[in-house]
């Protein structure tokens, strides 16, 4: 331990040196720009890689990208995704997700589902304002997820770009799955 002289101790006590040291920091901040945001009047800029609410995307011709492959469900570590897939009745031999649920209360925003998606149908957006009084509305269904995807399409594209998943629309088309045509029914049946 450092031995301090009795005189220094005396002057420190008389002049309240600790107070001055502390006030120095305080006065310094009077000349800074404020650190805090006046949320919700002010909002901060969010980076493209931000992991916010999940949305489902469509191709630029309006067709749903999701083919209901269930890989997101398999990849999800918190098991918050549920996919129910079936054959598209209007388009024979095409697989699609008839129901798609994400329990966002369970979601840990790891982004694995987006990584797993083979057609880049899932993306994370910059949306984080979905607090509610009713917890049940936090079970996002397919309709809500497509609403998010449609509304925050730009965020989603930036997210996919930032995570090296999809460069542009051209790349999205390259991932698109083309289903085979059915053999024409024979005449007698």
């Amino acid at each position: 331990m450092k031995s301090t002289s009795t005189a220094k101790k005396f002057w420190d006590t008389v002049l309240f040196r600790e107070i001055w040291d502390a006030m120095k920091v305080t006065f310094k901040h009077m000349f800074h720009r404020p650190m805090t945001f006046q949320y919700p009047r002010e909002k901060r800029t969010i980076p493209d890689t931000h992991r916010g609410a999940l949305g489902l995307l469509r191709y630029d011709d309006g067709k749903e990208r999701c083919v209901g492959c269930d890989l997101c469900e398999a990849a999800c570590p918190s098991r918050c995704i549920k996919v129910i897939s079936e054959e598209d009745k209007s388009m024979p031999l095409e697989r699609y997700a008839s129901e798609f649920y994400i329990d966002i209360t369970k979601c840990v925003f790891c982004g694995y589902c987006v990584e797993a998606c083979p057609v880049n149908a899932l993306a994370m957006t910059k949306l984080y304002e979905y607090s509610t009084h009713d917890k049940r509305t936090l079970l996002f269904d397919k309709k809500r997820l497509y609403e998010i995807g449609d509304r925050y399409i730009e965020d989603a594209k930036k997210y996919l770009y930032a995570h090296n998943l999809e460069k542009d629309d051209e790349a999205s088309r390259a991932y698109r799955y083309h289903f085979p045509e059915p053999v024409l029914k024979s005449n007698d049946s």
Binding site: E87, Y177, P182
Partner: protein
């Protein structure tokens, strides 16, 4: 073992020595090298190999280095020879196999996300295993998907031409419905002649397809393998008792699979004697009834003209009060019960205990009464109570006499054992039927007999055996009196007359008798043509006569067996659900057994000599002596012909309780309807036709408020104030275990011990003389028409259906809908001046129905067939019911009808 299997089970291949990876290995000569390597525990990848058929060698994955050869060899098609030195591991082999995977992947679409096989795909596994990441010359095939078949979709973009589907169809099923065809520059699997696939739809091709080239239409795109919960259970359709995996997602059954899969490819061909692990069309595609929207979910109680949904407590109390009131007013014998043999052993046991100890009546029966009782009663003469042979014995028999059984239709998986016996072990099969059956087409001695003459034909065989002196001296000398009686009895028969009656030449009868008698291992297999046709009990006894004089009883690999229609007919007998049997089964009148059961149940049994079987119950209902009837899963209005007065009998009842998963025709008449579970929601055991006791496990929670059958019996018993202290299936099983030691010999059937002495030494003389007296065909009720338009009409089972249950499965109804088609011989159609699909009127002395005619070249002239599963139009009502004098089995499968243009 695959490749060249031994053609006779008696021959043993020589043992050879070879070296694998420096280790000395001994093996059988002539088997596939792949099998030898697999038997040492080394797993070499192979995509076109499956143990159930001969190696095909198309995938090029099973490469090994054989000393003395420059290039790697395909181990599956190479035969193991003495002194071979083989290396199975090494970087060079991995690279060679990787090349093969790359070859397959280069023309395989990368559509795993939408492929139903994703996660259960051998090509995927191999690509991961060998680290295939880069495909330089990939080109997709762009072949349209073949969706013309009703059941399977063929996406040939994904096909790797391994040929497993074609091989299993050809070698195991022996149907040969698929073939390779070069189309659009690629070898593709197509149905024969590139037509829409029409076959038995067993779905084995689907099970062995290592990729997603063949997919199931009923579960297309509805799942990924990792989402499904797999429950091993026993099929509820027929008596074969196939093990299957019910794959469920939440509350839906998505698909049914079985042990047969490309994943379980390692095995010994000799293992298939216990079944190849596959299923038939009913098991694999008939699961939709389980989660059908028609299922009953809440108890219904009759109020006026309608059935009203009622809480369980109220309904159970009502049932108990009404039963108690009827018991108090009219005695316990005014109550009767009939249960279906699709229930588990536990349901059946609790049911008969409920009827006998709580109600106190012996008026109880099961649907085994429709035929299987005939077989069991006949077997009891020999001290046995069920079929004598296991499937392994059937596979390895030298001669199989198949009487009156269209086994490929009624028990498709059991028929594979006969097909294997024919194809692999070169057995002689004698098929006796009134039409050209599928098994008859494969058999060496297909015999067409006049409808209804099975018994006469069997007695002719017995006579021929005696006449040609084909009897087994050893057995006959043990029972000289019995043989003398039999000899005397058959002496009165004339083979010429039998030949004229059955339409089989005398020479043929002699030849068949010789083939049967001279083989060291002969098995008699009888089906619905014996046990469900007039005097079936006597026919089974005649089969036993044939077996014992030729010395086929008590010898290993010989015997008399049967196949059953419903899953647990044998269990119903074993659990004592028949008025003449107590569990065991032992005779109801046996004083020792009665004392044992009275002590176990702590209540007196109904008096001896009492008890009505199914048809007697109906008769008593008509007479008004039975006031309450408890039907569990039975639907007599849809099963029995109108002529037996079933409608009148049900109308007479004061209380009709129906317990069924569905609101059946009978349930609509009921006063109380309890919603029961299907087998997919139950825990318990089923006993198959071989006597194997197999588990049924719950795959789903009971639908709605439906309950397990025995829970309902216990509920009513407790409402009646009786003691039935069961809380779990294991409680019931513990009681059965305690009282029937050794019954739960799960998965294995106890060998049947046959005692000839008591049968042949007591009363046989009189009995046999009686039986051989009237061998004329029982006169069929003739229709009022000229002989030109008179036909034999059969009610037959078809492969796509089982009982009435399968008509609730939408998949099976899609494959085989009710088209109101009567199948007739094409010549008959021509002689009546009818075209295919013509409207006809079929009439008997009981009435007439309108149907459409359809030519079927398998039918001989004068025979027509209608599937028994469909209620509309009521073809069954054309039949008269003929009762067996001994076993009281109702016979209504064969009748004479008149057919004319409508």
């Amino acid at each position: 073992m695959a490749l060249k299997p031994v053609t006779t089970p008696d021959a043993e291949a020589a043992t050879i020595e070879l070296t694998i990876d420096g280790e000395p290995v001994s093996a059988k000569e002539g088997v596939s090298l792949y099998d030898v390597i697999a038997s040492t525990g080394r797993i070499i990848p192979a995509m076109c190999y499956h143990y159930t058929f001969d190696p095909f060698g198309s995938c090029g994955m099973c490469l090994v280095i054989q000393e003395g050869k420059k290039a790697p060899v395909r181990s599956c098609t190479a035969k193991a020879t003495a002194g071979m030195v083989v290396r199975t591991q090494g970087e060079d082999l991995i690279q060679a196999r990787k090349k093969a995977v790359e070859k397959h992947l280069s023309v395989h679409p990368l559509d795993c996300p939408v492929c139903d096989a994703d996660g259960h795909c051998e090509l995927q596994d191999m690509a991961f295993l060998h680290g295939v990441t880069n495909l330089a010359n990939a080109r997709p095939k762009n072949i349209p998907e073949d969706t013309r078949s009703l059941v399977l979709d063929f996406n040939m973009n994904r096909c790797i031409a391994c040929g497993e589907c074609i091989n299993i169809c050809k070698d195991v099923q022996r149907i040969d419905a698929l073939q390779f065809m070069k189309k659009g520059g690629f070898t593709q699997v197509v149905a024969k002649g590139d037509q829409p696939l029409v076959c038995e739809f067993c779905g084995d091709c689907l099970a062995v397809c290592p990729v997603g080239a063949i997919t199931n239409k009923f579960s297309k795109y509805a799942y990924k393998p990792w989402q499904l919960k797999k429950t091993t259970t026993t099929c509820n359709y027929c008596g074969d008792g196939c093990q299957m995996y019910l794959e469920t997602k939440d509350t839906d059954v998505i698909r049914v699979t079985s042990f047969l899969s490309w994943k379980n490819k390692w095995g010994d061909r000799a293992d298939t004697v216990n079944g190849h692990g596959g299923l038939c069309v009913r098991g694999r595609f008939g699961f939709q009834f389980i989660d059908s929207p028609d299922r009953l979910q809440i108890p219904l109680v009759r109020r006026g003209d309608s059935l009203v949904e009622t809480p369980w407590i109220e309904a159970l109390d009502l049932a108990a009060d009404r039963l108690k009131a009827i018991k108090a007013a009219h005695g316990p014998h005014a109550i009767a019960g009939v249960i279906t043999a699709r229930c588990t052993n536990e349901d059946l046991y609790v049911f008969q205990k409920f009827m006998r100890s709580v109600i106190g009546t012996n008026h109880l029966d099961s649907s085994a009464r429709y035929g299987h009782v005939n077989f069991v009663r006949a077997m009891r003469a020999l001290g046995a109570t069920r079929a004598m042979n296991t499937s392994a014995e059937i596979t390895k028999a030298n001669t199989i006499l198949l009487v009156g059984s269209d086994i490929t239709e009624t028990n498709p998986v059991a028929s594979l054992r006969i097909k294997e016996a024919i194809g692999v072990y070169k057995a002689q099969v004698i098929v006796v039927d009134s039409m050209v059956t599928n098994i008859g087409k494969l058999a060496s001695y297909p015999l067409l007999i006049t409808p209804g003459t099975e018994r006469a034909f069997i007695q002719g065989l017995v006579k021929s055996v005696v006449e040609q002196d084909l009897v087994d001296e050893e057995t006959v000398s043990r029972f000289p009196e019995a043989f003398a009686a039999l000899k005397h009895a058959v002496a009165a028969l004339s083979l010429d007359h039998i030949s004229a009656l059955t339409g089989v030449a005398v020479d043929q009868i002699h030849e068949v008798a010789r083939v049967f008698a001279e083989a060291p291992r002969s098995i008699i297999l009888c089906g619905e043509g014996v046990v469900r046709q007039s005097r079936g009990y006597d026919t089974v006894l005649a089969l036993i006569d044939l077996a014992w004089v030729t010395g086929k009883l008590g010898r290993p690999g010989c015997g008399v067996s049967t196949v059953t229609e419903e899953a647990n007919e044998q269990g119903a007998i074993d659990m004592g659900v028949a008025p003449e049997f107590l569990p065991g089964p032992v005779s109801f009148d046996d004083p020792v057994a009665r004392e044992k059961w009275e002590r176990a149940w702590e209540s007196p049994l109904p008096p001896r000599g009492e008890g009505a079987s199914l048809m007697e119950i109906i008769q008593l209902c008509r007479e008004g002596r039975i006031k309450a009837l408890y039907l569990v899963g039975e639907n007599p209005l849809a099963t029995l012909p109108e002529s037996c007065g079933i409608r009148e009998a049900l109308a007479n009842l004061e209380l009709l309780i129906c317990q069924d998963p569905f609101l059946t025709e009978t349930a609509q008449f009921a006063h109380l309807v309890f919603p029961a579970c299907t087998f997919a929601e139950k825990e318990g055991t089923l006993t198959n036709q071989e006597g194997k006791v197999q588990f049924v496990r719950p795959a789903l929670d009971p639908l709605g408020e439906s309950a397990v059958d025995w829970h309902i019996f216990v509920g009513i018993a407790q409402s009646m104030g009786a003691k039935m202290p069961y809380t779990a299936t294991s409680d019931v099983q513990a009681e059965i275990r305690k009282l029937l030691p050794g019954y739960y010999n799960l998965g294995r059937s106890k060998p049947v011990a046959v005692q000839l002495e008591p049968y042949l030494e007591n009363g046989y003389r009189h009995n046999v003389a009686e039986r051989y007296k009237g061998y004329e065909v029982a006169p069929l009720p003739s229709a009022t028409a000229s002989p030109d338009t008179r036909f034999h009409l059969y009610l037959k089972q078809v492969i796509y259906h089982s009982g009435k249950l399968s008509t609730r499965a939408s998949g099976l109804m899609k494959i085989s809908p009710n088209r109101h088609l009567l199948q007739m011989a094409p010549e008959d159609l021509a002689s009546l001046g009818l075209s295919d699909g013509a409207e006809i009127r079929v009439s008997s002395d009981r009435g007439s129905v309108k149907l459409q005619a359809r030519p079927d070249p398998a039918l001989p002239r004068g025979v027509c067939v209608y599937p028994e599963h469909f209620i509309e139009p009521p073809v069954k009502d054309l039949f008269s019911v003929d009762l067996d004098p001994v076993t009281h089995v109702p016979y209504f499968k064969l009748s004479q009808v008149a057919i004319e243009k409508a």
